[in-house]
């Protein structure tokens, strides 16, 4: 690759080594061949204008934002300073109150039809949405207003994708997923919270190929959600051999046997956790001895419970 690229990167404070590591990682996550690595690199180094993102918080716990803050390839500071222009994000933006609301209006105007809208959280719809408000608007109004102007909407996490815990029984505010509440079709980075790698992968796909990634029928990108956790699980051979953990803390648990009998929902859950893992590829729940709870599936709180028994 030409030197100019790395000069520009270094100006942005990104070392050559870190950067190539990141590009390889993302390309692998997306399931692209190694030939794409230089193209991924170009995408991140190129252009004076960074793609604008407006990030909305609905009824949620901010765990998905926290997950993004743990991004290590690229580092979160690179994401927010050099790769994306995050124009509105209530938790981490410096502005507050009226200034924050002005900023939303400004960004909506400036990037009309050109920004990516990311939504975290479900939308309470009962009594015309009165149970969820930001400033003077209901979340329902805000969601409509912003997604209408967006180039594309990415729903991050199980709440915005499928309703999540808010929509679990008895659902007192009649909370709904973004698609159901607003009548739109979003790309869903499912999980509670999802792996930030899958969010970054989706954004890269868009920047690299000019379109959002191919998805399954729920809208989850195939690069991350096309196989079950069970099919990719490193403990799969224990399942085949009939070697199961039947009590936490047991000898079998210490040996890392299969957690199916402990209620593992890996066979019904589509996600790439076993391959990508969390926090810089450090671990994932099954590796740490906990059965998969199926958090990237629709309505998992109601559908997958009880978590510690097979149904």
């Amino acid at each position: 690759m030409e030197n100019g690229l790395f000069d520009r990167l270094e100006q942005k404070g990104i070392s050559r080594r870190d950067f190539m590591k990141f590009c390889g990682y993302i390309t692998a996550t997306l399931g692209l061949s190694a030939a794409y690595v230089p193209r991924v690199a170009e995408v991140f180094a190129a252009g004076k204008q960074r793609p604008a993102v407006i990030w909305l918080h609905m009824a949620e716990c901010t765990g998905c934002s926290e997950a993004l803050l743990r991004s290590m390839y690229p580092w979160i500071d690179e994401l927010v300073l050099e790769i994306l222009a995050i124009e509105y994000h209530e938790t981490i933006m410096a502005a507050a109150g009226r200034q924050a609301e002005e900023q939303l209006e400004y960004a909506l105007n400036k990037y009309k039809g050109k920004f990516i809208c990311v939504v975290e959280g479900a939308i309470p719809t009962k009594d015309r949405g009165i149970y969820g408000r930001v400033g003077k608007h209901t979340m329902l109004e805000l969601g409509k207003k912003v997604t209408k102007e967006a180039l594309a909407t990415i729903t991050i996490g199980n709440c915005s994708s499928f309703g999540g815990v808010q929509a679990a029984k008895p659902n007192p505010t009649n909370a709904k997923s973004i698609d159901d509440a607003l009548g739109i079709k979003s790309v869903k980075i499912a999980g509670c919270p999802p792996n930030p790698v899958n969010f970054v992968g989706t954004v890269v796909n868009y920047l690299l190929l000019g379109k959002l990634p191919a998805t399954d029928s729920y809208g989850r990108p195939l690069f991350a959600y096309s196989k079950t956790v069970h099919d990719q699980c490193p403990r799969r051979s224990h399942y085949e051999a009939g070697e199961f953990v039947t009590q936490f803390g047991s000898e079998e648990a210490a040996k890392g046997w299969c957690l199916y009998e402990m209620g593992c929902k890996g066979p019904e859950t589509y996600n790439n956790c076993p391959i990508v893992k969390f926090n810089d590829g450090t671990s994932w729940p099954v590796e740490a001895g906990h059965p998969c709870i199926g958090c990237s599936e629709p309505n998992f709180w109601d559908q997958m419970a009880p978590f510690y028994e097979q149904k």
Partner: protein, 468 residues
Amino acid sequence: MGLTIPDNARILRNLLMGAQFQQDHLVHFYHLHALDWVDVVSALKADPKATATLADNVSDAPFGGVTYFKGVQNRLKTFVDSGQLGLLSNAYWGHPAYKMPPEANLMAAAHYLEALRMQAKSMRMHAIFGGKNPHLQTVIAGGITCVKDMLSPDRLAEFLYTWKEMQDFITKVYLPDVLAVASFYKDWAAIGGTANFHAWGEFPETANEPESLYMPRGVIFKRNLAGVKMAEESKVTEHIHHAWYKGSRFKHPYDGETNPVNPKRAGKRPYSWFKAPRYEGEPCEVGPLARCLVAYAKGHKDIKANTDYVLGKLGVDTSALFSTLGRTAARCIETVAIGARMESWFLELIGNIKKGNTATFTPYEMPDKARGVGLNDVPRGSLGHWINIEDKKIENYQLVVPSTWNLGPRDEKGKLGPVEEALIGTPIADPKRPLEVLRTVHSFDPCVACGVHVIDPDSNEVYKFKVR
């Protein structure tokens, strides 16, 4: 259920919670609070050479030097020149309440960026014994699931070295930065205080709770440290007079109900989705300052030493703790102490494993009928869980969480919630740009994604009155 979890499970939980305190407090200071004190835009005017000298004087940070600060400044400049200010858009840059010189602002901005990476890295500690962060999964009734990782020398080493890097950052960067920033804002040691403090305490060091809690349990009324008392769960009530719920005025959490009403049809009295928690009928601040005061009042060796060190460095006495600055300093004080304590927990775990004690789980039978209470302190403050079990299922579950204690509204007697109380008397240079209000509100580290006051900016007489 009469269940005692194995020592190793207790220690691993403490280690996970300790790592949570380290990470949460670091993120709070640098990413959720620092920009109330640090004018990032002013950092563009800094002299990198003078900044390097300043940084060398205030800290032992493992990064720095003229080239380093020049690099950070260039990075910020490229960012600002791009015309896409992103997360820095439309904030209060240039506000007269910002008091730090450009060099101090550049140093803080550089550490803001370093801390972003450090916090992400540190959460590998959670992934190791928790499976992932956020929302770690391994903590279960009866103990913890990560026995395989606990028995892996690789995993233990990875945890220890990640912990060490994080704790170094806390002592060599975070603490000196808090002292440096505070030295420009000493007037804030007399603004933003409250009167009553509550802590359930955290980090049991034996099976005896609350006696063995490293951060002790207790309650303090009217700033009277000498009168510190033990806190009892039976004395908690939640009040809904000014909240959008129906039901009786107040209830103990065991009997608690959560029945929302439509705010449009609720009249003018209610103004919050928070209930108002009270202890013996009194509002109480919870969080780092409450924990430090309870510990200090009880003569806690580490907290007392760290607190006295910070007070000495700033040249103020204990009365300065009852303030916005005191709250922000207390957060750092306890991070240093808890982070350091993690090493001894870790070594205790290693000792157990060496002796062949590898138990991590105590089996149990779910009772048909039971009630239970869990009292903890999490980074933001007192966290209580109350559960009723009927037919082996949850019949009622109520949580009283830190931000409800701190941001809850008035009760039926008209007593203000802690944040409301803390804001009274805040000096405001420009009523249209109330940066000073943010300082105090943010100092509580509010978690208000799920319950916020609605204050109509057009009719909010309180602030307008106080401005004069």
